[in-house]
């Protein structure tokens, strides 16, 4: 495991995009401005000194009452240099992020999951649909205000006959 130098590099290259750099339990987290996300990510992947070629994971989170309300964390791993870096982007409610699915194809499904669970949109995503929940689902369950039991927990199941729906089997 080699030392992560990317945070210094980023600070030098994009001084106005990098908001904070922090270390916790040996992990480096860089918070960046969402407007510069794609530039920073492209740089991190292509630069000879960083080469973050593997997007390990992407996680959305709802901070509840902070402003901006959400953040999205990208965990990068560099196979040549064997180190990890976390990039965090704060997102306000109703805001959209730029997709990174053309930089790493892995982001395709990850962004769909973030959209599904938090309702954070992604600009220019090739196929932004729900992924784990059905298309007709209402709400985004990992938001803090979403009830743990779901919205329809107390609604009893009801037998729905075909005739009732108005589409009888015989046509």
């Amino acid at each position: 495991m080699s030392k992560c130098t990317a945070s210094d590099l980023l600070g030098g290259k994009f001084p106005e995009a990098v908001k904070t750099v922090s270390e916790f339990r040996g992990e480096t987290t860089v918070v960046i401005d969402k407007a510069r996300l794609r530039e920073v990510m492209t740089f991190l992947k292509a630069n000879e000194e960083t080469r973050y070629d593997l997007l390990v994971d992407m996680a959305g989170a709802d901070t509840g009452n902070e402003s901006p309300r959400f953040f999205v964390a990208y965990l990068l791993h560099s196979i040549p240099f064997n180190n990890r870096l976390r990039i965090k982007v704060p997102v306000a409610e109703g805001d959209v992020l730029d997709t990174v699915s053309d930089i790493w194809r892995a982001a395709d499904w990850m962004e769909r999951e973030v959209y599904d669970m938090f309702g954070i949109g992604f600009n220019k995503h090739p196929d932004l649909r729900r992924i784990l929940l059905p298309d007709f689902f209402v709400g985004h369950p990992l938001r803090k205000e979403f009830p743990l039991k779901g919205n329809d927990f107390d609604t009893p199941f009801r037998v729905c006959l075909e005739e009732e729906k108005g589409n009888r089997a015989d046509g």
Binding site: H77, I79, R84, A106, L142
Partner: protein, 391 residues
């Protein structure tokens, strides 16, 4: 001239070769797949949401139900993440036992994989042999954990209990026997002409594509990329053990098969070493009295211990503010937990990085342009478990 149309075929979710409830929409030009759209989520239970309502100890039981073929590995990944937040050290004996059990579990998971994968492709015999050996492992693990599939045995701060005396002799007997068993499997498949025809050159993935799609685990290594969390970020004393990372070249279904077979042999080596040099000592952290419940004898003797026990069981423990990511090499790939803590006794956000979910994302790349009969081979070769894909 007649009009040509593509035919859309719906495969799953109730299809034996999708290993659970995966649904695929295949658009076919004759027998060639033009487009494939996976549809997942049929097994979604909201584990990440549920975890936010549970204390750290309670949330452990949810992890058993991710990849239900390797419960021990899931427990380990989760505990490593919480322990990283708590910043506690685990005694060597517990670390070695964790490695020992996780590697046994990897063998069991790979055996299940080779059995069902071969069955999917029409080689039924292997199923019976592989399940016989898997049964031995599950019985051995049951001896320690009391459960076959949902152990919850690796706890935050160490292990739930020390091993019984009969455990190590059984493990050693298995370890001595196992290499011969793998030889047996190889005689059934490795040079089998039908097996080779069904797997060689089928749904290959280049190393660069694997990295681009975030693929990890045996599928990535079969494409010739060396990335294994056990070597890249050694956890739980993996640096003490001697083992190799098998790699393939062509990244096809056959290479994935070979990589997993060698992995079983290597896991066997690790189990052997861990059992041979298992240190003496406690199996729970000694520097974390607020996390690890006191021993039973102590609870009966000391009122303070009783109160402590009660508090841990009733309220759990508070975890420092911060965010960590810890991952392990599970049998499917990199299994990681990203936990954000707000300083209370419940995880504020727990994101699971399930290897199967991300590996499945590369399925369309693997099968588009291939024959429809090879879809089953491709799905089998990724080794998906819908429990962790859908969470």
């Amino acid at each position: 001239m007649a009009e040509t149309r593509f035919m859309t075929v719906n495969m799953g979710p109730q299809h034996p070769a999708t290993h659970g409830v995966l649904r695929l929409l295949l658009e076919l030009d004759g027998e060639i797949i033009v487009k494939a759209v996976p549809d997942i989520g049929y097994l979604h239970r909201g584990i990440e949401k549920l975890a936010e309502s549970m204390t750290y100890n309670q949330a452990l039981t949810l992890t058993d139900r991710l990849d239900y073929t390797s419960g021990i590995s899931n427990n380990l990944a989760y505990c490593l993440a919480v322990e990283k937040l708590l910043d506690i050290t685990i005694p060597k004996r517990a670390q070695y036992l964790r490695v020992l059990m996780a590697e046994l579990q990897r063998i069991a998971a790979h055996l299940l994989w080779v059995a069902t994968h071969a069955l999917d492709l029409g080689a039924m015999t292997l199923l019976f042999y592989a399940f016989r050996d898997r049964e031995t492992i599950l019985e051995t693990l049951e001896l320690v954990t009391g459960a076959r599939l949902t152990p919850s045995f690796i706890r935050i701060g160490g292990l739930a209990a020390d091993i019984p005396e009969t455990f190590l002799p059984r493990v050693m007997a298995f370890v001595e026997d196992f290499p011969k068993r793998v030889d047996e499997y190889e005689t059934l498949l490795t040079e089998n002409i039908i097996w080779k025809k069904r797997t060689r050159g089928i749904s290959p993935l280049s190393g660069a594509d694997c990295i681009n799609y975030g693929v990890t685990g045996p599928v990535l290594r079969a494409s010739g990329v060396c990335y294994d969390v056990r070597k890249a970020y050694p956890y739980s004393s993996y640096e003490d053990f001697d083992f190799e990372i098998p790699m393939g070249k062509s990244g096809d279904v056959y290479d994935r098969y070979l990589v997993r077979l060698i992995e079983m042999r290597q896991s066997n080596r690790i189990v052997k070493q861990a059992a041979a040099k298992l240190p003496e000592g406690p199996v729970t952290a000694v520097d974390a009295p607020l996390v690890v419940p006191p021993a039973k004898e102590e609870v009966g003797r000391d009122i303070a211990a009783l109160i402590r026990h009660f508090k841990i069981m009733e309220q759990g423990f508070s975890v420092p503010r911060g965010e960590v990511y810890a991952s392990i090499e599970s049998s499917k790939g990199e299994l990681g937990f990203y936990i954000v803590s707000d300083g209370t006794n419940k995880p504020f956000r727990m994101k699971i990085r399930p290897p199967s979910f991300i590996n499945l994302g590369a399925l369309t790349k693997m099968i588009e342009g291939q024959m429809v009969a090879d879809v089953v081979a491709a799905i089998g070769s990724i080794d998906i478990v819908l429990g962790e894909i859908d969470r």
